[in-house]
């Protein structure tokens, strides 16, 4: 070091404005974090990472807490419906068909005289299973394949992209009628498999696009120049920066998958009547909507709340993973 002590121009509080045009952007955040606020940590603070910061953020986010509680509740009743419903969803009394609420039957009865409350509770299992498993399958398959195709490009990418084009051309309902009619048994798994098979191309395209964008960023080049391996670049740099659109689309798709199960069940190729699902109930109740709207509204309401909970969860997670929004 030279004798003359160097006085580094210490960063003064406040960031520069990023041009007058983007005044509305988040640029306006300052470095004067309140003590204890994000970034205001003292010297003894543990080094932080994206994930620990995201978790800290989520724990304080009411949207996340509400949606997570709702989802936990849904999963719980999907596993043990008898916890909150004592009846049997298959015990029906045609004499009470389309009746309104009665003591012990708060949601009334459907067209077959079954208790709507019990069926709505028991329907959660099939619907939540289809929604969650199909979404997870689609998101995993689509983002892994899309990520690899976007990252490595070349022949991989060309072949996979053409395959997705072919899948996009298959009409969903017709495909379901053909494929599912040959599958024996009456479980949700063929439906889940069918949705994953037809759903992954959508996520593939989104994942591929966002990986392509992230790949061109200079920070990826910088990591490469440091000698980072492909797996490191993919996991540390590209994945966190391209996961947001996948989360958004996947959580929105979750609702459509539950509805798709309903459609397929209605057409007789999904779950068959001894099984209980919101989809089946919605479709069987829809012809009587004028006489017994409650039979439709309760399972449909349950479906809407489930979808909303997952979308809210997805939004909260996406925001937590973006430090710029903190």
């Amino acid at each position: 070091m030279p004798e003359q002590p160097y006085e580094p121009e210490r960063a003064v509080a406040g960031t520069g404005m990023g041009g007058a045009m983007d005044l509305g952007a988040s640029e306006a955040s300052t470095l004067e974090g309140a003590p204890g606020g994000p970034g205001g940590a003292g010297p003894a603070a543990r080094p932080r990472s994206l994930w620990s910061d995201a978790w800290r953020d989520l724990r304080r986010n009411p949207v996340f807490l509400v949606s997570a509680l709702l989802i936990c509740f849904l999963v719980l009743i999907a596993i043990r419906p008898s916890l909150i419903a004592s009846g049997n969803p298959l015990t029906c009394d045609l004499a009470r068909a389309q009746d309104g609420p009665a003591p012990g039957h708060p949601f009334g009865f459907d067209g077959q005289g079954c208790d709507v409350y019990t069926r709505t509770v028991y329907g959660a299992r099939a619907s939540v299973t289809v929604g969650v498993c199909a979404t997870l399958g689609v998101a995993l398959l689509g983002s892994v394949l899309g990520g690899l195709a976007g990252f490595f490009g070349g022949a991989w990418d060309a072949v996979l992209s053409r395959i997705t084009d072919i899948f996009f051309a298959i009409p969903v309902v017709l495909g379901g009628l053909v494929l599912l009619s040959v599958v024996p048994g009456n479980t949700v798994w063929p439906v889940v498999g069918f949705i994953v098979l037809l759903g992954w191309p959508q996520i593939f395209r989104i994942a591929r696009g966002s990986v392509l964008t992230a790949k061109q960023q200079d920070y990826v080049q910088a990591a490469r120049a440091l000698g980072a391996s492909n797996s490191r670049i993919l996991l540390r740099h590209i994945a966190p920066n391209s996961v947001a659109p996948v989360i958004v689309v996947a959580t929105i798709a979750l609702g459509t998958y539950i509805a798709l199960e309903a459609t397929l069940s209605y057409l007789g190729v999904g779950l068959k009547p001894p099984s209980v699902s919101w989809g089946i109930d919605i479709s069987t109740a829809s012809p009587y909507i004028r006489n017994a709207p409650h039979a439709l509204l309760w399972p449909a309401g349950a479906l809407a709340i489930t979808v909303l909970a997952f979308i809210m969860l997805g939004d909260a997670v996406r925001d937590a993973l973006d430090p710029r929004l903190r």
């Binding site: 070091m1 030279p2 160097y6 580094p8 121009e9 210490r10 960063a11 960031t15 520069g16 990023g18 988040s26 640029e27 955040s29 470095l31 970034g39 940590a41 003292g42 010297p43 603070a45 080094p47 932080r48 990472s49 994206l50 910061d53 960023q217 200079d218 920070y219 080049q221 910088a222 990591a223 490469r224 120049a225 440091l226 000698g227 980072a228 391996s229 490191r232 540390r236 740099h237 966190p240 920066n241 993973l321 973006d322 430090p323 710029r324 903190r326």
Partner: protein, 355 residues
């Protein structure tokens, strides 16, 4: 010149142009870099200037092994690094690091500053034992003039100049010998540019760095460089010390380029003579025969279309020992002073000094 640390010879990068969907057929090539030679001495700063599309950034990316050259060699301590892969390549990367142009895209927005600067140690764990990394990161932050307490913050909480300091700290983490800086200040505000330039100069002394400094701003390049190479359409057309290039240019392109730079001195308006080049730079997919500058050159004659002028001391200056005798790829090289001599202060000091 000092002992060379990097020798570049015959460096070429062509991007093939293809046609057809199933059977791709090469129909031509974009000759982004088309035969570049230079040497970088230890502790030296070599500036490379040129307009957009001249291939200077591609050269930078090849030096950092981000792009594999089509032909040619880049020798670091005598070893050709363009043919390396795996472990040997990773070892070389430690010694050649890059500073990027855009401080907004060159830092991962989802990593803390501490993680960004510490990543080099994760990739090369042999450089620093695990327990020592945090201390080193804090030290680096301090070296580039940022508060070490900022290690837990994210890039978006910093201004452009501060981000560029973070990028510089990352490049220095592995104690490289060579730093390739691709337009490191062009995205910054004028008042912040000087801070970053001064920082880079101080670090060069402190860490004994050799710089390849790539920029389009000729004034900044003159300020920081010991030697300067001027690129046009994939080739270096003239190279020499800063005095040779700026005060005694012999290549017509360099002369035109220098004459076009606005000088912050309204009195120079009348004194200056501008060489306005006609037309646009030709496409690198369709480079003119012979001298590639001839289509815009006021000196061009028949010979220029036929013979490629070599980058060497022109014949007319071969026995000259003055500053005009330096490498210049022109058949009709002639000295022409285009930058009006600046008024130097009587005592030779720059008019102001930092406080």
């Amino acid at each position: 010149m000092a002992e060379p640390v990097l020798e570049v010879s015959g460096l070429v990068k062509h991007y093939p142009l293809t046609r057809g969907v199933l059977f791709r057929k090469q129909v031509g090539a974009v000759r982004a870099v088309d035969g570049v030679d230079f040497t970088l001495g230890r502790g030296e700063t070599l500036g490379i200037v040129g307009e957009s599309g001249c291939g200077k950034s591609t050269v930078a990316r090849m030096l950092c092994n981000l792009e594999r050259p089509t032909a040619g060699a880049i020798r670091y301590r005598g070893e050709d690094i363009t043919r390396l892969s795996g472990r040997a390549l990773k070892a070389v990367r430690r010694n050649i690091q890059m500073v990027f142009q855009d401080p907004y895209t060159s830092l991962n927005p989802r990593m803390t500053v501490g993680d960004i600067i510490g990543e080099p140690y994760e990739i090369h764990p042999e450089v620093a034992p695990k327990g020592d990394r945090r201390r080193r990161v804090r030290e680096l932050l301090d070296v580039v003039g940022l508060d070490p307490e900022y290690a837990n913050r994210y890039p978006h909480q910093f201004s452009g100049g501060q981000r560029q300091r973070i990028g510089i700290a990352r490049a220095l983490a592995l104690r490289p010998e060579i730093v390739v800086a691709d337009e490191p200040v062009s995205a910054l505000d004028v008042s912040v540019q000087a801070q970053v330039i001064n920082l880079m100069e101080r670090l060069q002394d402190e860490f004994e760095l050799s710089y390849v400094f790539i920029a389009h701003d000729l004034s900044i390049v003159r300020h920081i460089s010991d030697r300067v190479g001027v690129m046009y359409l994939g080739r270096i057309v003239e190279i020499g010390t800063d005095e040779q290039i700026y005060d005694h240019p012999t290549h017509p392109y360099t002369q035109a380029l220098l004459s076009a730079v606005p000088v912050p001195d309204p009195d120079a308006r009348e004194r200056r003579e501008r060489i306005l080049l006609p037309g646009d730079v030709p496409s690198p997919a369709d480079i003119p025969s012979g001298c590639r500058f001839r289509t815009r050159c006021w000196k061009a004659r028949e010979r220029c279309a036929l013979e490629v002028p070599p980058l060497a001391v022109p014949a007319e200056f071969r026995h000259d020992t003055g500053p005009a005798a330096h490498d210049s790829a022109c058949h009709f090289a002639a000295e022409l002073r285009v930058v009006p001599p600046g008024e130097r202060d009587a005592d030779g000091e720059s008019s102001t000094s930092a406080y």
